[in-house]
Amino acid sequence: MEAITSGLVLLFQLGPLLWLTVGLVAGFFVGVLPGFAGSSAAAVLLPFTIRLETENALLLLGGIYAGASFAGGVPAILINVPGTGSAAATALDGYPMAQQGKGALAIGLARTASSIGGIIGGVITLLVIGPMAMFAVRFGPAEMFLIAVFGLTIIATVVGEQVWKGLLAGVLGMLIAVMSADPITARARFDMGFLGLYDRVPFVPAIIGLFAITQMVMIAGQGRFVVTESRGGESRKDLLDGIMITLRKIPMVIRSSVLGTLIGAIPGAGTAVATFFAYGVAKQRSNHPETFGTGEPEGVIAAEGAENACAAGTLVPTLALGVPGSGTAAVMLAALYVHGIQPGPRVLVQNAPEAYALLWGMILASILILPIGILFASPLIAITRVPPKTLVPVVLVACMVGAYAMRNSLFDVFLTLAFGALGIAMRLNGYPIIPMVLGLILGPMAESNFMRALMLGNYTVNYFFETTIAKVLTVLLIFSIAPSVRRALKKRRSRTDAATTATSPQG
């Protein structure tokens, strides 16, 4: 308890508060740019934090993390260009809402759910970081592999109309992700002679290409952006309505936030898994699952509530195990090392004030983000009223810089274009993009754990199902696919019956 309060005392000083706010505002604006996710912004600012006090540096990066997580939902809602993989879940219902002229309402929902999610996630993390770290340690390679497969199947089955198309997109994504050298022997595999593919397929160009480039090309073809009717005067009212709707759905926000925090605490699982998982659970528990994907407010609430909660949850493995839970958490881990802090179970004893100040900072950031978000909402909503012929070129330039900036590599720019072409081919043929993105995220995690599990289990399959956690995950995996397959079969049977009736002479 003393350690927790020491963090609070450290946070409520001028310097830490100032750096947290700076990080928050910076993260908010950077998060809106496609590709400039929290990890990119934090990576760019990392060298500048060396001169800062440890707690200030951590709070600056923590603020960026919270701000970018929060802002990533804005372009996802307004122009269907999620800045991060996790914001892709927000786009599923947020973008259809914007198309219906409810962009401000969707942003209001996202803001409030994100803010509440961040507070809940922060409080849970603060209270249970110790026990949660112990639980996360129990996830061995087999469990981590099953988590990856489970994350993929649940998304592939909830996105799009045809289950097999979603699953194919997901597996293809996984396969693209493991084109690089294998993680154990470091031998090159399918790198096609490109050095840029030896390490691993970079995630930022892939997501920019698949989402942003594809979306911009499609928008240019359609000749319209999002809304067809102006609703400028109603923006603020819609925002407030969004806040009220979210407050009325507080049990769902709590459920998504708890899920987000728990998934965030699993090393490597990341926010994308958390948001899609929360979205899938919300859809499965909903009384009207068919409305998900068509502009359902609950979809936005579930995804956003989980995202910010997950941002707090990822700090559990980062601080307690030294294993980053996400890209931004990886940059924060680097910042810890730069400032001479050795992450691991002892960090909560040896550097308790700094560690707990960071967790308190995440809670405070979630509180501050709501007024900041409302303050800057109107200029962002104005994006929807800019004609596509003006906005498409500008967004494309930002995309290309975003793709380049992560590794200062022109190869990544070419890769973005290649992924853009792949995304267009997929969309034209009705294959959903989101499972592919998730496959790209989870592929390396799935492979390294698959290999470790194989070696530990002496190349037997039984090892994958030995522990209770693995058994539970396997059951969940089967349950995640079964309803979708049953639904698809039922739909096909009814279509066949209808066709038979139509073609029969009596029909």
Partner: protein, 168 residues
């Protein structure tokens, strides 16, 4: 996420052909991946082989699905339509999309040759003109404004070292 407008291929035969082409490309990718792993240790091949097996199964399932949809469309109202019916019209409708993608390709090619900002100016001018940004002062404003803002934001504020080339 996907709009109905994503499908400019209007006839069922065109859709079927498009999907066949897509699935064939995946098969080619899968075979190339498999062949690239010759000589690797078993452990390095294990996961890609597992994923490739899954991919094969899913390609077959999707192929069956696509064929079923095509066959049922043949028997449905209106018939399947030909492979070339309305293709020219649809390509003309997607003219802007083609302009965007080609300009983007040219932009990417020009960056290492002209430098980022010069290539960006050329890209914005060509794309803005192609998409119909008029009058000229508005096009100039779009190009000039974007180049200046991106320089200030990315180069100055965020410190991204964008490639320099022939001019800048």
């Amino acid at each position: 996420m996907e709009d109905v407008d994503d499908k400019p291929l209007v006839t069922s035969t065109q859709r079927f052909a498009g999907e066949l082409l897509f699935l064939a490309a995946i098969v080619v990718y899968g075979v190339s991946f498999y062949r690239s792993m010759d000589g690797l240790r078993e452990i390095a091949r294990a996961f890609p082989l597992f994923a490739l097996a899954l991919l094969c199964l899913l390609v077959i399932l999707n192929l069956i699905g696509a064929t079923r949809r095509w066959v049922s469309a043949r028997h449905g109202a209106g018939g399947p339509g030909g492979l070339l019916v309305g293709l020219g019209r649809n390509l003309a409708r997607g003219r802007s999309s083609i302009i965007v993608f080609v300009s983007l390709g040219a932009f990417t090619w020009l960056i290492p040759r002209l430098g980022f900002f010069t290539a960006q100016a050329a890209f914005l001018t060509a794309l803005g003109f192609g998409l119909g940004v008029r009058p000229r002062w508005r096009l100039g404003l779009l190009v000039g404004g974007t180049v200046i803002v991106s320089y200030l934001l990315f180069s100055t504020l965020l410190g991204v070292r964008l490639p320099s080339g022939l001019l800048l």
